[in-house]
């Protein structure tokens, strides 16, 4: 995983710098996430790792799979990736691109998992509090996990703020075991 990130970084940075110059960050974001989704499909993975898949036919097949949703630059990216045998890196490239984009825009993505569904007001309150803590605009991604029992867990990059009942219970278990 860490090796994949290392390999994907130059591609993501190149795409980002190009998109930043051309001013089409959002378009690239869409097409990268689209390509990433296709590349992480199991059938496509199998196809791409087949030895018979020659470099160019691999790229051609991939572009066809994307069904003419790619512009010329994106097609070139696919060709380069195929040439270097790195098509499987597309999901990582997408993720790195997003983080570069967030950094440039001064925003950060935060994953909020709660036991019960959050109301709009609660979401706003969390976003506001996080903005104060992280000093950046926060894009909230909300999901529900009943096994947390209560409270919420927020993940922003490597930072985790755990305020769930489940987390407290497990902490209490380890305190009492001592």
């Amino acid at each position: 995983m860490s090796e994949l990130t290392t390999a994907a970084r130059p591609y993501a940075r190149a795409v980002f710098e190009m998109a930043d110059k051309a001013g089409n960050l959002a378009e690239w974001s869409d097409s990268l996430s689209f390509m990433g989704a296709i590349a992480s499909n199991d059938d496509v993975k199998k196809l791409l790792t087949t030895p018979q898949m020659a470099k160019h036919s691999g790229a051609d097949a991939f572009i066809k799979l994307c069904d003419s949703k790619l512009d010329d630059n994106a097609k070139n990216l696919v060709n380069i990736l195929a040439e270097n045998d790195r098509l499987s890196l597309l999901p990582e490239i997408g993720a790195l691109y997003e983080s570069l984009k967030d950094e440039a825009e001064g925003s950060v993505e935060a994953l909020v998992t709660t036991a019960k569904k959050l109301t709009k007001a609660e979401q706003d309150a969390i976003a506001k509090a996080l903005k104060k803590r992280l000093g950046r605009d926060v894009k909230l991604k909300v999901s529900v996990d009943e096994s947390l029992l209560g409270g919420a867990i927020i993940q922003a990059g490597d930072l985790v703020i755990d305020g769930t009942l489940k987390g407290r219970l497990s902490k209490m278990t380890s305190t009492m075991a001592r």
Partner: protein, 513 residues
């Protein structure tokens, strides 16, 4: 133990009340791979070098390699149950161990957890295992003796408090025996001892602990054990943990003695960890920082001045200097002192005690090679009397060794040479000493005096040890006060010499050996 139910619920209630219910903010990462005690972790962007990492199974790790996209950590302890995809948390703590007088008499592992089954250790303080050694300003020169109670060492290779003296030799030459004797000799001297066993058989460690208990030495000793079956990471860390415990005493104006048995195995353990972390190997496959591994460890053994002690104790202890003396042990292969690790440690330490296989096998125990053993600073710390009397012994032995090799082929020798040879044979016999029988300063002085003044010259070589033990028991019973004065002061004057001479003449005239 009988447990009262209310006691238990009180305890639990207290724990629950003291339990912090605030939301916990932490930095997390994901484990990418675990192999051979090394975990690679993705994420953990805020981790510090040397920080403790908590794994999901409750085990701890130590962040050693901070790379661009991953962190390489050694797992301390059990790595069963850690799997790919698990989360690993930063703790924000640099690795530390419990320190303090509560540890005396205990056997602990490299993290300071008790392994002697005597219950928890109620120490209140923690000390980081990696610490900067005291600087130039904070040090004081070595001027107090650290007596080992071994005749040959105290007379010829003296060690001062705060010195680092290497014990080096092949396997089975009595390296550990010298170190254990040195611990036993500290009884009643107010020197705290730390014995760090690295990569040894658990049975050997148990044997040593039993011996120390037998001689009442465990009361002032801490044993830090990372046995051969413990993970390499623990074997690599245990000397640092032991040093942290020793520094506690040094920084409070007390004296401590630490023995690393042995640093060869620690270097092996570190080599293993480094290679698994994919650090590039160098000479003998050791990593590039193997010299620093030992130099930063041994540099922490030092004598510190009163101002440093005052600063460390916030003014509570005034006018006392502290010391941490180290006896690192290195095992050589076939007497090869020019291998990588032995040369490194020889150059770091302030001298070495060289133990020789041939001497050991010919019955000269401790098998100290008087020619190769040196002490670079200990001479300044010797008591007056031993310094005066020890020089003659060293000279006798050095001359004897040269002549003995030379005279093996000669049939008739002149009178002077023959005398020197006979003196040398007797001094060699005199320097043998049974294990676990350390001598006090006064007793050593009498022994050396007898050799210097020629009291042994008409004794058969194989009767020398009998003569010595009879002499010592005579002195102990007949000259008790004089001996205890000598033990305390260590002074030497013409009056003292005259009294020693008359005592020895008295004893010899009785002929009871």
């Amino acid at each position: 133990m009988q447990l009262n139910p209310t006691e238990i619920s009180d305890l639990i209630k207290k724990q629950i009340e003291g339990f912090d219910t605030k939301a916990e903010a932490r930095t997390e990462g994901t484990i990418v791979s675990v192999m051979d005690g090394i975990a690679r972790i993705h994420g953990l962007s805020e981790v510090m070098s040397g920080e403790m990492i908590e794994f999901s199974n409750g085990a701890f790790g130590l962040a050693m390699n901070l790379e661009r996209d991953s962190v390489g950590a050694v797992v301390l302890g059990d790595f069963k149950g850690i799997k790919e995809g698990d989360t690993a948390k930063c703790t924000g703590r640099i690795l530390d161990v419990p320190i303090g007088p509560e540890l005396l008499g205990r056997v602990v592992d490299a993290l300071g957890a008790p392994i002697d089954g005597k219950g928890p250790i109620n120490s209140t303080e923690m000390g980081p295992i990696e610490r900067q050694a005291p600087g130039v300003i904070e040090r004081k020169s070595v001027d107090e003796p650290m007596e080992t109670g071994i005749k040959a060492l105290d007379a010829m290779v003296p060690v001062g408090r705060g010195q680092r003296e290497l014990i080096i030799g092949d396997r089975q030459t009595g390296k550990t025996a010298v170190a254990i004797d040195a611990i036993i000799n500290q009884k009643g001297k107010d020197v705290k001892c730390i014995y760090v066993a690295i990569g040894q058989k658990a049975s050997s460690v148990a044997g040593i602990v039993r011996k120390l208990e037998e001689f009442g030495a465990m009361d002032y000793t801490i044993v830090v054990a990372a046995n051969a079956s413990d993970p390499a990471s623990m074997q690599y860390l245990s000397p640092y943990a032991g040093t942290a415990m020793g520094e506690y005493f040094r920084d409070r104006g007390e004296n401590a003695l630490i023995i690393y048995d042995d640093l060869t195995k620690q270097a092996w353990a570190y080599r293993q960890v480094s290679l698994l972390l994919r650090r590039p190997p160098g000479r003998e496959a050791y990593p590039g920082d193997i010299f620093f591994l030992h130099s930063r460890l041994l540099e922490r053994s030092s004598r510190v001045n009163a101002e440093f002690v005052e600063k460390m104790t916030n003014g509570k202890v005034k006018g006392k200097t502290g010391s941490l003396t180290a006896y690192p042990i290195i095992e050589t292969q076939e007497g090869d002192v020019s291998a990588f690790v032995p040369t490194n440690v020889i150059s770091i330490t302030d001298g070495q005690i060289f133990l020789d296989t041939d001497l050991f096998n010919s019955g000269n125990r401790p098998a100290i090679d008087a020619g190769l053993s040196v002490s670079r600073v200990g001479g300044a710390a010797q008591t007056k009397i031993i310094k005066k009397l020890g020089g003659g012994v060293r000279l006798d032995l050095a001359q004897y060794r040269e002549l003995a090799a030379f005279s093996q082929f000669a049939s008739d020798l002149d009178e002077g040479t023959r005398k020197q040879l006979e003196r040398g044979a007797r001094v060699t016999a005199l320097m043998t000493q049974a294990q676990y029988s350390p001598l006090k300063t006064g007793e050593l002085a009498f022994t050396l005096f007898a050799a210097n003044e020629g009291f042994l010259d008409d004794i058969d070589v194989d009767k020398v040890t009998d003569f010595e033990s009879a002499m010592l028991s005579y002195i102990r019973t007949e000259k008790t006060d004089f001996l205890s004065d000598l033990n305390k002061s260590g002074d030497y004057s013409d009056d003292i010499a005259a009294e020693m001479k008359s005592a020895l003449e008295d004893f010899k005239s009785k002929g009871t050996w």
